[in-house]
Amino acid sequence: MIPADITNENRYLGELVPKICRYAGLGGLALLVASVVLGWAGEAGWERLLRSYLVAFFFVLSLSLGGLFFVLLQHLTRAGWSVVVRRIAEGLADNLKWLWIPFIPILVAVWTGHLYDWADPSRLSDAERALFQHKEPFLTPWFWTIRAAVYFGVWAWLARFFVNRSVQQDATGDPQATARMQSVAAPGMILYAFTQTFAAVDWIMTLEFAWYSTMFGVYFFAASTCGAFAAMIIIFYLLQRSGRLTNVITTEHYHDLGKLLFAFGVVFWAYIAYSQYMLIWYANIQEETIWFVIRQLGGWKTMSIFLILGHFAGPFLILISRYPKRWKGVLAIGAAWMLGVHFIDLYWLVMPAIPAELIQSVTTYSQLVTEFEASYLPEYDLHWRVLDLTCLLGVLGVFVAMAAWSMRNRSLVPERDPRLDESLAFENY
C-alpha cells in the first residue's frame, strides 16, 4: 500500500463552515428557543425542561471530554497510528473552552433552587434533612459553583494547550511542540481524571440526593469514551463522503477506531456498569439499591434491559468481528447506533427519580412495586417528550456549529506532525 500524499487532498472544511453554522447553529438555537417555549407552555414544566437540558448538555460534554481523553492518551503513549485522526478529536475537545456558556442555565437552576433537591432543602424529606446537614459543606451553591469553575477552567486550559500547539505545528513543523505536548499529557491526564470524576458526581450523582457510588466517575468516563469514539467515526465517514481526506483516512484507521469503540464504549462500559449494578444488588443495602429500584420499574425497566442489549450485547456481537470494523458504511451505522444508545444511557442516568414518600411508606420490594404502579406511575414513569428531542438537537446543533467554526481555518489533519508519515502508512497486520 502506498501512503497517501496529503497535499493532493481536500483537507479543509471550507465552504461547509457557513452551511454548518447556518443550519446546525441557527437551527440549534431555534430548537433551544422551542424547548423553552415547550417547558414554559407545555405540561412538562420547568423541572422537566431542566432535566432534559441536563441530559443534552451532558451529551455534548461527554463528546468533548472523550475527545480530550483521546488527545491526551495519544500524546501520553507517543502513538503514531492516530496522527491523522487526532485533529478531529482536538476539534471535539476544543469546544470545552466555551461549554461553560450552555452550563449557565444549570448554574441558575441551582442558585434558584431547582433541578437538584439539595439546592432547595425544603424539598427534602425529614430523614434526608439530617443527611443534608452532613453533606451541606460540599453541596452549598457557592462551593459547587467554585468547583464547576475549576472544572471548566482546567478543561478549557487543557483543550487550548493541545489544540493551539497542534495547530501552530501545522505552520512551524516544530517537533518540539510534540515533545512539549507529550510531557504535559501526563499531568494533564491526572487533572482530567479528577475533574471528569467530580463533574459527574456534582452534576449527575447528586440528583439522587442520598445515593452514592465510588464507581460513578469511572462510569461516566466509560460513557464519554463511547460517545467520542462513535462521534469520531461518524465525522470521518461524513467528511470522506463530502470528498475530504479521501485517501488519508484509510480502512486501517477506521479499524483501529472501531477497536477502541468496541473496547471502551462497549466492553469497558459494560464491565463498569455490571460491576456497579451487581455489587449494589448483591449487598442489598437500601440507600444504595434505591437508585436502581426506580430503574427497574415501569418503562425504566424496559430501558434498563434495552441498555444491556443495545449498549452491550448487540454491539458486542457485531463489533467483535473484523469485517464490520473495516467496512466503513457498516461501522458508521454501528457508531451512529452507539451514539444513540449513549444518549439513552445518559437519559437513564439523569431522568429517573423516585418519590421519597414512596420509599418511606413501604417495607418490601413487592409492596413498593404495587404501590408505585398504583399511584406514582403516571408521574414518575418513563415519558418521552418532544422537548427531550428539541433540547438534544438544539444543544448538539450549536455544538456542531461551534466545532465547525473553530475548524474554519484549520486543516483537518495535523499537517506537519513528526509522526504523520507513520500514521499515513499505518497498517493492521
Binding site: I285, P418, D421
Partner: protein, 473 residues
C-alpha cells in the same frame, strides 16, 4: 557493520528508538539468549539464590504439614478476623500474577513492541505467582482431604458448591486464568524451544526440548498458524486480566462489611494488581539483567517504560483510595466513615500509612526522569511497592474485620510464627520455580525480539530509514 546505538532513552518525536542494542544480526541474539540455559554451570549467584529459595520452599512444605497435622488454629485467624494472612497472601500473589498477562496480551494488542524483551519471564512469573496464590485457599479449607469439593463435580450425594458465592467464582476465575496463561506462555515458547532443541549438544537435551517443541520446524505454515493462535490467545487473555482480580474483589465487595463494600473495587483491584505485578517484574528483571548481561535486550528504555506503568497504575490506586475516602464521608453513613477513619487513624494506622506511602507517594518519584533511569532507585521502589501492595490487602482484609459493627467483639489481629513462616515460604516456592525457569528455559522470547529488530522489517515505509522498525512506542 552499522554503527550501534548505545543510548535509546531519547524522547524524540521524529524517530522511534531501537529496542535491541548492540546486536545487528539475529545470530548473536540467539547465541546470547541460548547461552544462558546452555551454560554448563549457572553463575555462582544463581546457586546461592537457589539454595536460599529452596530452603524457604522447604519451610513452606513443613508449615503446610504442620498445619494439616494440627489444624488452622495454628494461624492467627481468630474471631473477629477470620480471614487473616492466608487470604491476604492469596490476593497478594494473584495480584503479582497480573503483569505477565497484561504484558503478553494487552500490550500485544496495543502494539507495544517493547514488551517482547520482558514478556517471557513476566509470564513465567505469572504462572508461579498463581501457583503460590492457589496454595493458600487450598490449605485454608480445614478438611483438605475433600478439597476437590470446591469444584462442581457431579456426585451421588447431590452436593454442590454454592454458586452464589464469589468464592466459587474465584475457583473458576483463577482456574481459567491459570490455564490460559499457561497455554499462552507455552505456545509463545514453542519456536524458542525448537531453537534450543536444534542447538542441543546432548541427546537428553535434544529429546527434552524436542518433546516440548511439539515438532516445530519453523515452516511458513507453522509461523502463520502460530501467529493466529497467538493473537487469539491474546484476545482471550485480555478480558481475563480484568476478570480475575475483579472476581477477587467481589469476594469482598459483595459483602455488607464497611470498607469492603464499595463499587469501585473491581477496576481498583485490577489497577492494583497490575501495579504490584509490574513491581515484581522489576524486582526480578533488574538482577536477572545484571546477572546474565541482558542490558542489550532489557534496555534502559524498557525499564523506563515499566516505571511509567508503575507510576500510572500507582496513581490509579491513589485515585481509588481518594474516591473511597471521599465517598465514605459523602455517603453520610457512620459505619462507612468509621471504617475509613479507623483505617487511617485507628489501631492499624501504621499499616495504612505504609500502604499509602509505598503505593501512592513513593512511586510519584517516577515523575522525574533521573529516577526512572536509575537502577538503584527503581529497584528500591519496586521492593517498596511489593511491600505496600501486600499491606494494602492486609489493610483491606484485617482492619475491616477487626473493628466491625459490634464494639464488644472488636479484636486485634496478630499473626503467629506459622503465618509468618508460611508467607516467607511462599516467596521461597516462587523464587525456586523462577530460578529453575531461568536455568532451563529461554528467559527472553528470542523469536519475538528478532521481530522488533530493524533487520526484520527491511521495507521501511516513507519517513523511516530503511530497516528502521517502528519500534519503541
Amino acid at each position: 557493520m552499522t554503527t550501534l546505538v548505545i543510548d535509546n532513552t531519547f524522547d524524540d518525536p521524529t524517530r522511534r528508538a531501537p529496542l535491541v542494542l548492540g546486536h545487528d544480526r539475529f545470530g548473536t541474539v540467539t547465541e546470547k539468549i541460548c547461552s544462558i540455559s546452555e551454560a554448563r554451570r549457572p553463575p555462582r549467584a544463581w546457586y546461592i539464590a537457589f539454595a536460599i529459595s529452596l530452603a524457604f520452599a522447604s519451610i513452606l512444605g513443613v508449615m503446610i504439614l504442620y498445619l494439616f497435622a494440627t489444624g488452622v488454629g495454628v494461624w492467627g485467624n481468630q474471631n473477629p478476623v477470620m480471614w487473616g494472612f492466608p487470604i491476604v497472601n492469596f490476593v497478594f500473589w494473584i495480584g503479582i500474577g497480573h503483569a505477565g498477562t497484561l504484558i503478553s496480551a494487552i500490550l500485544f494488542l496495543f502494539r507495544q513492541k517493547w514488551r517482547t524483551a520482558i514478556n517471557r519471564f513476566a509470564e513465567a512469573m505469572t504462572i508461579f505467582a498463581v501457583i503460590c496464590a492457589g496454595t493458600f485457599p487450598g490449605i485454608h479449607l480445614g478438611r483438605v482431604w475433600v478439597s476437590y469439593w470446591i469444584f462442581p463435580i457431579p456426585n451421588q450425594m447431590e452436593m454442590w458448591p454454592q454458586f452464589r458465592s464469589p468464592l466459587l467464582w474465584d475457583v473458576f476465575a483463577v482456574g481459567t486464568y491459570f490455564t490460559v496463561s499457561l497455554l499462552f506462555w507455552y505456545v509463545g515458547m514453542l519456536p524458542d524451544l525448537a531453537t534450543l532443541r536444534d542447538r542441543a549438544r546432548t541427546k537428553v537435551r535434544a529429546m527434552a526440548y524436542g518433546i516440548f517443541a511439539l515438532g516445530w520446524r519453523g515452516s511458513v505454515r507453522h509461523w502463520h498458524r502460530y501467529e493466529r493462535a497467538y493473537l487469539i490467545l491474546a484476545a482471550l487473555a485480555t478480558p481475563l486480566v480484568l476478570s480475575v482480580h475483579s472476581v477477587v474483589s467481589f469476594d469482598f465487595a459483595v459483602a455488607q462489611v464497611p470498607g469492603w463494600h464499595t463499587t469501585i473495587f473491581p477496576p481498583y483491584f485490577v489497577a492494583g494488581a497490575i501495579f504490584s505485578g509490574f513491581a515484581m517484574v522489576m524486582t526480578l528483571a533488574i538482577p536477572a539483567r545484571q546477572l546474565w548481561g541482558l542490558r542489550d535486550f532489557i534496555t534502559m528504555r524498557h525499564l523506563e517504560n515499566m516505571n511509567k506503568i508503575i507510576l500510572v497504575t500507582g496513581s490509579m490506586v491513589g485515585y481509588a483510595y481518594l474516591m473511597e475516602f471521599f465517598t465514605a464521608w459523602y455517603s453520610g453513613s457512620i459505619y462507612e466513615w468509621f471504617a475509613f477513619a479507623n483505617r487511617a487513624f485507628g489501631p492499624y494506622a501504621w499499616a495504612y500509612w505504609i500502604m499509602v506511602s509505598c503505593n501512592v507517594v513513593i512511586p510519584q518519584i517516577f515523575w522525574f526522569q533521573w529516577a526512572r533511569r536509575k537502577i538503584a532507585v527503581m529497584f528500591i521502589v519496586s521492593l517498596l511497592v511489593n511491600l505496600g501492595m501486600w499491606f494494602e490487602r492486609f489493610v483491606i482484609i484485617v482492619t475491616s474485620l477487626a473493628q466491625d459493627y459490634l464494639p464488644s467483639s472488636w479484636g486485634y489481629f496478630t499473626p503467629t510464627w506459622v503465618d509468618l513462616l508460611t508467607l516467607a515460604g511462599s516467596f521461597g516456592l516462587f523464587m525456586t520455580l523462577f530460578l529453575l525457569f531461568c536455568r532451563y528455559l529461554p528467559i527472553i522470547a528470542m523469536a519475538e525480539v528478532k521481530h522488533v529488530m530493524p533487520q526484520a522489517n527491511p521495507h521501511g515505509h516513507a519517513g523511516q530509514e530503511p530497516g528502521e522498525s517502528e519500534a519503541g512506542r
